[in-house]
């Protein structure tokens, strides 16, 4: 009997040894997680200002209602109170509280973003109903709503894929991250670092004392090159038309305004219960409001491409402003007739006059004279066929065709007729509006190519240190594409006449206040009415602003786009941007 008793005592001591020594670290950890509750403190995202310091994007306080199921004494009373104050159905609240009961010890959010008055009311009433907590957190506030949507972008909950990649950088599930625009491309600067509270709690979840605190660090503020007044003007002038307006300082690449219609209100993405609206926005393939047409839309440029062809001709050395071609309204290539937009023809013209008239027949002949390869070579020189490098996500490349590409792709030779079409900016060629803007800016900037950008600086950040994720605040020096000054002078003269001389196609862009130079485009497309283009800059001498206006299926570029461009440039002048 003695042996049996001692045997069990030895087992007991071994059991204690096993539990307290061998399994100690496991149980220690469990006891810590029992006792310490970590409350996450969200960091406010950095604010966004325009070039003049106007606040564009800020944060407001969202009041949320949370419940700790353990502490609820009378569930019915809680539901009655919340339903009373918030005007929410009792069944909905009941389901949410059921959900909270699965994690009874921790606060579970059941209603988000309630009005301030209701929050105060609830805060007063909740003393009688334990278990209900009102918490606050910063919520993104897009002051100008849709006006800036395609510049700023929007936020969304982090995806599983993003989370997997970014976990080491302190991202958490349910975190909001930039999904588009500068919210996305500058997310790392805007987001800041979340903080937290370590609180000792007892078994009922009562908070007993604060063990440690880590203050959240707010995100960095961004200053944009955008001028909000000009942006608003561009937004209103484009009204409900599908299209794009971009204005840029041609000497630096600083974007002053960027509008793409239709747009969306980014506030929708941060407010709760907007699931349906968000779904609709994201799945609207008919008008594609989420598409930033300015940088992601590939379109036929039409006659605005004549700027490239003209430059190419003058630079080639084989052509000058003395040489002429004549236009009878039609031009036969092979067995096909190519028409000019003016049926009766333009007669005999030199290159500058033809450019002013935007004479297609002249450019068919010029194109065939130069050859498709030569034109493409210049198109590439103008930075076409690849992204401009603007600091916004999702930029398209556009497309510059070459005869060798066609042979590779279609096992077919390049036809002369295709060269003719190519020379007037039709056919396989496609460009994004921002590429069109930049090709005009090269002329305005005396042959120097700039990299467009919207973020001018980040608060407290040395620009030379910012070189991450395609974002480069150390703005590239303008690159000389190597054009002769006489070429530039002639192209500028063509652009000037197109707007200012009699019979110019861009007459609607003529202004009394400032000399505007520009080129219209009317791009045929298989889906209906042609796309309408105007790209130009002002003042002619020492240009300060370069504008592209593009209207999807907008008809003639000489009408609305030209007029819009003029009004925008005049507005910019009143805003002292010129």
């Amino acid at each position: 009997m003695q042996g049996v008793i001692f045997f069990f005592f030895v087992i007991l001591i071994l059991g204690l040894f096993y539990t307290q020594i061998l399994k100690h670290s496991l149980y220690k950890e469990l006891s810590e997680s029992n006792r310490i509750r970590v409350l996450y403190l969200e960091a406010p995202r950095g604010k966004i200002y325009d070039r003049k310091g106007n606040l564009l994007v800020s944060n407001r306080i969202s009041f949320d209602v949370e419940v700790v199921f353990q502490e609820i004494k009378n569930e019915e009373k809680v539901i009655d109170l919340l339903s009373d104050i918030l005007g929410i159905g009792k069944e909905i609240l009941s389901t949410k509280i059921d959900y909270a009961s699965q994690r009874p010890f921790i606060p579970v959010k059941i209603v988000e973003d309630i009005e301030k008055d209701k929050a105060i009311h609830l805060e007063e009433a909740r003393l009688d109903v334990p278990g209900v907590i009102v918490t606050t957190r910063p919520l993104r506030n897009y002051i100008y709503r849709g006006t800036l949507s395609h510049v700023i972008g929007y936020l969304g909950k982090i995806s599983e894929d993003e989370l997997r990649k970014c976990k080491t950088y302190g991202y958490r599930m349910q975190d909001f991250v930039g999904k588009d625009g500068i919210e996305r491309s500058y997310n790392d600067y805007l987001r800041g670092a979340g903080g937290g509270l370590q609180i000792e709690v007892d078994s009922r979840g009562r908070q007993l004392k604060l063990l440690a605190i880590k203050e959240p660090r707010p995100g960095k503020n961004l200053y944009l090159s955008i001028d909000i007044e000009l942006q608003k003007f561009c937004d209103s002038i484009l009204a409900d038309k599908k299209g794009v307006i971009v204005a840029m300082d041609p000497s630096t690449g600083a974007i002053l305004a960027l509008v793409s219609h239709p747009d969306f209100d980014p506030n929708i993405f941060v407010s709760p219960n907007n699931f349906k609206k968000i779904q609709n926005l994201l799945s609207d393939s008919h008008t594609s409001p989420m598409l930033n047409r300015a940088i992601s839309g590939n379109y036929s440029p039409g006659s605005v491409f004549k700027i490239v062809v003209t430059t190419c001709a003058l630079e080639s050395g084989a052509f000058d402003d003395k040489k002429t071609f004549s236009c009878t309204g039609t031009y036969i290539v092979g067995n096909r007739a190519f028409r000019c937009w003016k049926e009766e023809g333009h007669g005999t013209q030199n290159i500058i006059e033809a450019f002013k008239h935007s004479c297609n027949v002249f450019f068919y002949q010029l194109g065939i004279f130069l050859g498709a390869d030569e034109i493409s070579k210049f198109a590439f020189k103008f930075g076409l066929g690849k992204p401009t490098g603007v600091d916004l996500p999702g930029e398209a490349t556009g497309f510059v065709p070459t005869p060798s590409w066609k042979r590779r792709e279609f096992k077919n030779p390049w036809f002369k007729g295709e060269t003719a079409n190519y020379a007037i900016g039709q056919g396989y060629l496609s460009l994004t509006p921002i590429q069109v803007l930049r090709l005009a800016s090269i002329i305005a900037n005396n042959g120097k190519l700039v990299e467009p950008f919207v973020v001018e600086r980040i608060e407290d950040i040395n620009p030379s240190l910012v070189r991450k994720g395609g974002v480069n605040l150390h703005h590239a020096e303008p690159q000389d594409v190597g054009l002769r000054s006489d070429t530039l002078a002639l192209v500028k003269e063509g652009l000037r006449r197109a707007v200012n001389a009699p019979h110019g196609t861009g007459l609607y862009a003529r202004s009394e206040d400032v000399v505007i130079a520009g080129k219209t485009g009317t791009a045929q497309n298989p889906r209906g009415t042609p796309h309408a283009w105007f790209v130009g800059f002002a003042p002619l001498e020492n240009p300060r602003i370069c504008v592209v206006v593009f209207i999807e299926h907008g008809g003639k570029g000489g009408l609305e786009p030209a007029r819009f461009a003029k009004e925008i440039i005049e507005k910019a002048k009143t805003l002292e941007l010129l």
């Binding site: 009997m1 003695q2 008793i5 001692f6 069990f8 005592f9 087992i11 007991l12 001591i13 059991g15 204690l16 040894f17 096993y18 539990t19 307290q20 020594i21 399994k23 100690h24 496991l26 149980y27 220690k28 469990l30 006891s31 810590e32 029992n34 006792r35 009874p104 000792e200 709690v201 007892d202 078994s203 009922r204 007993l208």
Partner: protein, 364 residues
Amino acid sequence: MITIARGYFNKFDKVVFFSALVILFIGLLILHSASSRYYSQNVLFRQMVWILFGIIFLFIILRISYQKIIQISYILYGINLLFLILVLLFGQARGGAHRWINLGAFNLQPSELAKITLVLALSSYIGRRKSDITKISFLFSVFCLVLPIFILIFIEPDLGTAFLFIPISLAMLFIAGAKMGHLVGLVSLGLSAIPFFWHFLRDYQKQRLFVFINPNIDPLGSGYTVIQSKIAVGSGGLWGKGWLSGTQNQLNFLPERHTDFIFSVVGEEWGFLGALILVLLYLLIVYRGIKIIQTTPDVYGRLIATGFVTLFSVQVIINIGMTIGFLPIVGLTLPLISYGGSSLITTLIYIGLLLNIGMRRPLF
């Protein structure tokens, strides 16, 4: 019998007595830690009063020869049986169990007293008919003596105490010289009756047994206690978190920590070393008890001592075993430490009886 008169305090087992005092003292410290924040201070005071009464009872017992007590053992047995019936009829229910009779100043727990009266009655019966010990019919009559008390306590329900009587009876029969084969047969008979008893278990009791096998099936319900207790003991480590500093204890994660689960507080706050010292103190009492059994020629004294040593050891082993999840939760107190008057006074009385037997051994 011969040596009662002079100097019998020479054979008063000081080791048992002082070990018990040290354990009582440790118990008060632990009870203070376990009760200071969430229970009223009353708990500590009442426990001290019980200890005082218990020690008074212990000394009264010392003065009366255990042989005299044996003579009235059937009367005590009968009274206890009566109390057990009363408790079922009028008892106070706590947590679904009828275990207490309200006696005004305190609540009496007759199942605790049964630990003494049954052992006394068994000693008396087995001692008197020692010559029949090898007969099966004798075993059967012993069984009949245990059965009424077992059933009454079982249906209270107080499973832990009821089942305690099985090892006690077996140990006493074994010491009295019962055949090993008979005892084994008895045990197997008992085991085969388990499905029958299972039928009578309440749902919460069945749940406890399921939870013993896997506490995580219901971590917030029946599994909660054992999980939290294991966390408490395990997180104590070698040195413990310090007196009054056990987070599991102080932050109220441990239920029943002043009664059945008080050992978790020892484990958490005083670590493996503290727990080991406490277990060794218990073992010291058990060891001295066994010595007393071995050196007592009187069969009654041997039987009583055997009953108590078994009772004491089994209770320590089961109580501590359940705090570390090695044994199912059966609601047994930790002798001399758990809060509760009946348990404390009962334990002190049988320690008194053990000392009593030790003192009345003949001198060699």
